[in-house]
Symmetry: C2
Subunit: 737 residues, 2 copies
């Protein structure tokens, strides 16, 4: 599912994450916590050794890797990896040519020689170590330190820690757990040569498309296979014909018998971000303003892009990826809002916070330690609301530094601003540069600009920029974006038609005065000093400079707030953990996690029960031969052969059919896409790829009754590989006879 | 459900019905057959006395009455009757005035004085006797008689039998069972003074509208209440303020505790028509030509009516009833076709017929008795196909005599033709008149013309007539409608534009030359002799006369075919019964039937299970406050009060909510609408009102796995009466405290 691709980078955002009490199957657990949970696992029917999941580098955990935006797992000793079909969209697009659309037709390398590069910027991260570094990050901080200085100190310590770790040639990441109560350092081997091995046709891998996205019953074969390659010496190396398949220490055994209703299952992967312990005030503001305004923005931008593409095929293609993303996010946000309001999550949040406050107040000692925390966090939140309209528009123009979404929003103004920030950063020592602008980040910044070209069209760029300017023109007098009024010739309270005219006139000048639409020029900006940038006289650099004043003001306020949070939130987490009976899972933060649950159906709308398995029969029912429900002819023929009695080991007896997808009660979120679903023996029985619509809001509060994740069944995978796509050599490579 | 309103009159049509073997819960049984089925009932959990259902005039059977198009049942000693909301549409419309739309707002008579007439043509038929009259109808017929003469003889005997029965002032009907193997005479008391007592608002009674029609999960409160009135002497009498409530011999006890999952239930009512034993050839032709052509016709007519109404509110209102009917029938026919083809019914039919043929051929004696039957029926069917395109168009212009659908198709040309047929019939003795044109039918013929005015608009009439002419113009040379070409100035093979011009020119003349749009004139036609009709010089009478030549030719061919069928079909039925192990249910024919089954969920599409009960929670989920999902404010408030803890005896513990509708495996069809659903003690626990979409094709072959009927739960009925509509006096009248 696009669903579970991470939609935002978690490093900065993780500041607001907090611990969650255990309930039902809730919890994206740190591997080290699994042995503590043995009693719960036993209750769920698990009879294996829970400690097998404890070490992040043992079996099976060592076989699970990160692709950055998705999870994957090794399934052979020759570095073959399984992940989702939708995690391969980039690789399929990269290898497509006008006469051969791999996204549509799928891809199968019959031999290793046929395996093709996933494209620049690809990587596989294999976990090497995972260590508690809390003392090094937050030990011995003078309590009298101001919030800004406190933030800077922690940032500097994180950068130093990371630099020390990466000195060994690894990829390292220091992450906050339990709201900054603990910090861990994750060290990973980064393998840049990743190749496409196999992906089914879109009519299997994305069967049901947007219509079925986030929905059950589902019939999507959402898998693809990659292979990691390394230099002849076994060390990571850029793509080269001399490279050889990577030999991982661990790989998963594939269990062709799959799972049954009620079976205990595990999902291991890299979930991106959850907000289970936003304070009540944060959730309330999200409900009242944040999501409604985001939904409005998505809807407006969708309309702009659809209008642009209506009569222009080329433009439609350029906008298609962005539109898919917008539609997906729109559905997500609507689901969130429904869950938060209609589903009663907001009310439950308030209830829980009241209980926490009462628990704190009930004991003088606790009152002394924690009494000021909730009011303090409420103040931080309150402060952030003051200029939220203005800040939201600015963030659309200049996305925040760590945000991966920069890629999807990529536009000339943010490109120009990135060049400016980079030039300023380069003038400093590496340790003094902000995270995201350090030397380790430069290649990725360049890649983002390179990839941007694919979806770039000046008409799209201008239409979205105009949309932001129109919103800026309508801001109240006390919330204007500094400098912008002068540049565009706007005044607060100006008639709409007048401001539109001024904006259009400015946009004419802006696009006439830039060369940034040219990729070579844009990339050259990344190599310039500040002086050189000024010397170009490019109109977009002028715009970026104008916006930068407010950006810097906001950035400092943000740092101050983060400093305050780093004082308050660990105590908030500590109080919550102290109050909770039993182990607590930290919020997701893009590190390796284990979640467990059962294969389990669930009540749908009133009068409807969703069974845990779907079957090939549903593909026959949904297949229309066109659009989103266009199963390949080869698959329809294979189903027909099965119906005529052709034998296959992948039929589930109780269903009298091949299972396609299944539901489980595991707890997952964006970033989990592609995660292997394991049985109690650590064997692969499916691939996690989506959650139901009712599940979306569980990012805020886990609902053990309604939350369900959606998995592709390994039997469907093997049946398609064997009966439809002729990928029997891969089945053999996975050790299945 | 509109679903189960009878859509065609069964007297003539019943000729093609035949026996069905028992399987699962299949069977719309004659009451007298129920004792034979005691073992099956016991297996289903029934612990009562099956013989209670045997007599059509005992308890509970005597409480069940026919409204002609729907079923109803007495629920109090004062003649109060329960039926469906959609069976009250006519009465609600009749009593509506511009400032008070009862269809929309519902109706409740607070006292008996407030009860209002259902309008002219209303009736309740209470069964008085039910007797086997086979000998009188088909005894001692000379086997050498020709088919036409044979048909005339049987018709004459039926008319004589009916006339004898009606001499006592009763309403009588002689019906064929088992394809003419048996005939029964049903004598009923006809009560013409029927009054509207209570119907909920449309937002309850038709909640979900077209969107939910034929669907599950369902949340429709499809009930209404009437009362039968008679003269002060207790005898049926036309509406009068002196009339008093009818005191039925039997009425149902209402069981406020309802039913539970798996409970045995009975539905008693007057199902209209099933085709369980069409021959394979008949089903094949229905699949290949009949239904596809009907579906095309519905779609074309829907488009015409929707286009007409688009800019004209008044026209839209006139067309609305017809459009609802067309949409309902379209969904029905599509469901039929899906079931027949995709559901494999056609293939099963072929299989069964092959088995029957083999069984016949396996024994020389059987071969001698039955060997010629299947080939003979195939010949009759073959003959009917020859000019089916032409005959289908003619039937659209001049619907067949017995067809109740005449009302819905009502148009000036059929009105003129009816006047002509009636005038010719009146010149004969009553016994020589065709059934449908006898003295007993005259008042109904007049009523149809009176009611027609309500939905009549000359623009609609002309548009539909034009549609038929355009189709007629396109007929092949060997299938032209005699006389029509000359009248309209058409020639076979004429260019489309030319024929359209000719048709429009003729239509101009036609509508300029008629007074038939005037109701008084149209009604006066029904009183004229043939000579008087000719003397009017009305253009529609000329058109009717032109079409009548072919009508008479077809009518004679039809009679010949029916004569042949009356020789062959009883033997077909006899062979089938002989071959079947156990009792066989005759096809539905608008006589009183009993069907039994269980409260039972069912698998929906792949991955979905439909639970047997829906609840108020579903109304909260579906309620949008507009269109088809607009529950009354009073109901939403009552639900809110319930959620806040207000006590009610109508909550089903296991659901923790008030049940709304439920599914059962009983076997029902059009005409069953309003039938009471009884528990094993003969107590009312719900009202049958629809079937699921998968059920539609069961008219052809009962599928015990997928077929489900939909009932309104008595607890929802009582909860709404008590908490929403304030109908507590009726609850008391039904004897519930």
């Amino acid at each position: 599912m696009r669903t579970l691709i991470r939609t935002s980078f978690a490093l900065v955002a993780a500041i607001v994450l907090v611990a969650a009490p255990v309930a039902g199957d809730e919890g994206m657990w740190m591997p080290s916590q699994i042995p503590e949970l043995a009693p719960q696992l036993e209750k769920m029917g698990f009879r294996g050794d829970a400690s097998a999941f404890a070490g992040p580098t043992g079996q099976p955990m060592g076989a699970i890797v990160s692709l950055g935006f998705c999870t994957a797992s090794f399934v052979s000793p020759d570095g073959l990896m399984a992940t989702n079909h939708h995690c391969a969209a980039g690789a399929l697009q990269y290898n497509s040519v006008p006469e051969r659309n791999l996204l549509q037709d799928g891809f199968l390398a019959k031999t290793r020689e046929d395996e093709v590069s996933n494209g620049p910027g690809s990587q596989v991260w294999v976990t090497v170590s995972f260590e508690n570094v809390t003392d090094a990050i937050t030990g011995d901080i003078d309590p009298a330190l101001g919030d800004l200085e406190r933030h800077e100190l922690i940032e500097r310590r994180i950068k130093r820690q990371t630099a020390g770790c990466e000195a060994d040639g690894l990829h390292c990441q220091v992450s906050s757990f339990f709201e900054g109560l603990e910090y861990y350092e994750l060290a990973q081997l980064e393998i840049p040569d990743v190749r496409l091995v196999y992906a089914p046709a879109e009519g299997i891998g994305n069967f049901g498309g947007e219509t079925d996205n986030w929905r059950w019953p589902r019939h999507t074969g959402d898998w693809s296979f990659f292979r990691a390659y390394v230099g002849p010496d076994g060390e990571p190396a850029p793509f080269s014909n001399d490279n050889v398949p990577y030999r991982p220490k661990h790989w998963l055994k594939v269990q062709p018998n799959g799972v049954a209703d009620g079976d205990c299952v595990f999902v291991v992967g890299y979930p991106g971000k959850t907000q289970r312990h936003y304070t009540f005030e944060e959730v309330r503001d999200t409900v009242e303003w944040g999501y409604p305004s985001t939904i409005r923005r998505y809807e407006e931008q969708i309309k702009i892009l659809e209008d642009l593409g209506r009569d222009d095929e080329a433009l439609r293609l350029k906008a298609s990826g962005r539109l898919r993303g917008l539609h997906n996010s729109l559905t997500n946000r609507k689901g969130m809002l429904e869950g938060l309001v209609d589903g009663g999550i907001l009310a439950q949040k308030e209830q829980r916070q009241t209980e926490l406050a009462e628990w704190i107040a009930a004991d003088p000692e606790r009152q002394k330690t924690y009494g000021y925390v909730l009011p303090g966090l409420a103040d931080v939140e309150e402060e952030s609301l003051r200029t939220r309209e203005r800040d939201d528009i600015l963030a659309q123009l200049l996305p925040s530094l760590g945000s991966r979404t920069r890629l999807s929003r990529a536009s000339l103004v943010s490109a120009a601003h990135t060049a400016r920030l980079l030039a300023e950063a380069k003038a400093k020592k590496d340790i003094d540069r902000e995270r995201g602008l350090q030397e380790r980040d430069w290649s990725r910044i360049r890649e983002v600009q390179e990839r941007m070209q694919q979806s770039f069209d000046v008409r799209i760029d201008r239409a979205l920029l105009r949309w932001a300017f129109v919103r800026a023109a309508a801001l109240a007098a006390e919330e204007r974006i500094e400098g912008l009024d002068e540049l565009l010739g706007l005044t607060p309270g100006m008639a709409e038609a007048d401001s539109a005219r001024a904006i259009d006139a400015y946009l004419d000048r802006l696009y006439a005065g830039t060369k940034a639409a040219d990729q070579a020029f844009r990339l050259s900006l990344l190599e310039m000093t500040s002086t050189e940038l000024d010397a170009t006289g490019d109109s977009f650099l002028e715009l970026a400079a104008t916006l930068d004043s407010l950006y810097q003001v906001n950035r400092e306020a943000e740092k101050r707030a983060e400093g305050a949070s780093s004082r308050l939130r660990p105590l908030y987490a500590e109080a919550m953990i102290e109050k909770t009976d039993g182990p607590v899972a930290p919020d997701a933060n893009s590190t390796l996690r284990v979640t467990y649950g059962q294969v389990l159906g669930v009540d749908g709308r009133d009068g409807v029960y969703w069974k845990p398995f779907t079957t090939l029969a549903g593909i026959e029912q949904k297949h229309t031969g066109e659009g989103e429900f266009d199963a390949p002819a080869a698959e329809m023929k294979a189903i027909e052969a099965l119906r005529q009695g052709k034998e296959t080991p992948y039929v589930k007896e109780s269903l009298e059919d091949v299972p396609v997808d299944f539901l489980s009660s595991v707890d997952t979120t964006g970033g989990n896409s592609g995660s292997p679903t394991l049985n109690g023996h650590g064997e692969l029985v499916g691939l996690l790829f989506d959650g139901t619509y009712d599940t979306v809001a569980s990012d805020f509060l886990f609902d053990p009754v309604r939350t369900r994740s959606i998995h592709a069944d390994v039997r469907y995978l093997l049946w398609v590989m064997s009966e439809v796509d002729g990928a029997t050599h891969l089945i053999e490579e996975m050790g299945i006879n």
